[in-house]
Symmetry: C2
Subunit: 127 residues, 2 copies
């Protein structure tokens, strides 16, 4: 989070890169596993995963969805029945679920690694 209030450089530091790198895809897959829906709706629901509203770049989300479709993790179909502009409805595939499981393993490993780091950190900076 790197609150840039005060002492260290006014502009930016490399730890300020929130949201987390490579965290969007697993969140989208988990949301799509709950229910099929479209990109704009997914964006509205990303706050649940710590993506503050406005922080989430729509372009990035749509690009992820198209790429996941290319990789056959999701499928899409246009929905023009409701009012308003056409929505592209996304649905997770079996392969998408597998990748989601792989993500869970990866993220669990990352969590462990961060915990190990923080233990060492606290050892070197007690109090």
């Amino acid at each position: 989070m790197c609150q840039d209030q005060g002492s260290h450089h006014g502009s930016s530091c490399s730890c300020s890169g929130m949201p987390m790198r490579r965290f969007l895809q697993p969140c989208l897959l988990l949301l799509l596993h709950r229910r099929s829906t479209h990109g704009y709706d997914l964006i509205q629901n990303l706050g649940e995963f710590g993506f503050s509203s406005g922080e989430t770049d729509p372009g990035t989300v749509y690009r992820h969805l198209r790429k996941m479709e290319e990789e056959k993790l999701v499928t899409s179909a246009w929905d023009t029945d409701q009012g308003g502009p056409a929505k592209r409805l996304y649905q997770i595939t079996g392969e998408g679920e597998e990748i989601l499981h792989a993500w869970a393993v990866t993220l669990n490993g990352n969590k462990q690694r961060i915990e190990d780091f923080l233990v060492k950190y606290k050892t070197q900076f007690p109090g």
Copy 2:
């Protein structure tokens, strides 16, 4: 981690990007806080943070060190006293320690976010 044994695509999936993104810098700073040393030695000691030997790209480490010096998080001085090729000895600065503290905050936030994700994941995939 994404063990690619079996069902899902033979080539690669986007969760396979181990080691973690943006994790090298805090590890280097923490090691340098213990004791001043040079890049090659840091590389030897990165295994402690889950960087498997051989997995760590030397070029990436050296580039990080040079960039951190540019940002005044570390200072360096040549050491030609010992045998072998000259070593560039790095030392963490006060600013570097501040950034390390900021990293700890960031990583703690990331850990929490991953934990929250995994809770939701387990809710949707019990058993």
